[in-house]
Amino acid sequence: MLHSADMLKVWGVIAFVAAFAVAGEVLIASGMRDLGDLDHIRARVGLFGTIRAVLSNVKFVIGALCMAFNFFAMLFALSIADLSLAGPAIASITYIGNAIAAKLVLGERVDQRRWLATAFVAVGVALLTR
């Protein structure tokens, strides 16, 4: 019984970390899409102008905060779960979650090729740890 409760806690933390990773990456991707190609921006306004443009983008800042929170949550997850479980589980869930969010939230054209690639990576990451 205790074992089941522990596993529930581990998987709860894994889902929590993955959810923050997806939220952070989608927000950053959306912010970067709004800004446009950073190489072009750097050519126009220089490196510091580019950094200023990125840091003044609200979506980027909120996304970066999500990623920072995700970083500490990941450290916490690694301390209560084996790396061989937490690492691939978080990565696989994040890959699938990102593909779904990219289509539904960002409006990206996630074609059959990308769905297949995402599924292959999610399964491949899980197999790498066995």
Partner: protein, 147 residues
């Protein structure tokens, strides 16, 4: 319109693969040294910041974040994520040929799946077009720079 990547953009994707995988490995090694962190001893997370492996991992992950942000400015999230998954393969192959670890059949299968995945996305367009982006704030910067 098919968006093909420039050599410098491929270099950014490779940097993402390497910094993410090596940075994660350093963090994992550092956290093993720091020890168990539970909800009642979150102060240990602060202590973790003084571990050299965690510090090196953080520096690499800052580099990863810069490259990742740059990549997302010219490619889709659903392109960048699988395209950079090759880092997992790099780590597994380093373990096999540098550290002489044995790779099980399932690991070789995992490597094959990730290689196929990278091949799938690399052959397709990197960006979904939604129309011309508008950058009023950059136009203002341009006007300021021209004064």
């Amino acid at each position: 319109m098919q968006h093909r990547l420039k050599p410098s953009q491929y270099a950014v994707l490779i940097a993402i693969m390497l910094t993410a995988s090596v940075g994660d490995s350093l963090l994992a090694r550092g956290m093993v040294q720091v020890g168990h962190v539970d909800i009642h001893h979150l102060g240990l997370l602060w202590h973790a910041l003084f571990n050299p492996y965690v510090d090196a991992g953080i520096i690499l992950l800052i580099g990863f974040f810069s490259c990742y942000t740059t990549a997302l400015s010219w490619a889709d999230l659903s392109f960048v994520m699988p395209a950079t998954a090759f880092g997992y393969v790099v780590i597994a192959l380093l373990g096999r040929f540098w550290l002489h670890e044995q790779l099980s059949l399932s690991r070789w299968l995992g490597i094959a799946l990730i290689v196929c995945a990278v091949g799938f996305v690399a052959g397709g367009p990197s960006r979904t077009e939604h129309g011309e982006p508008v950058h009023p704030e950059l136009d203002q910067m341009d006007a300021g720079a021209g004064r």
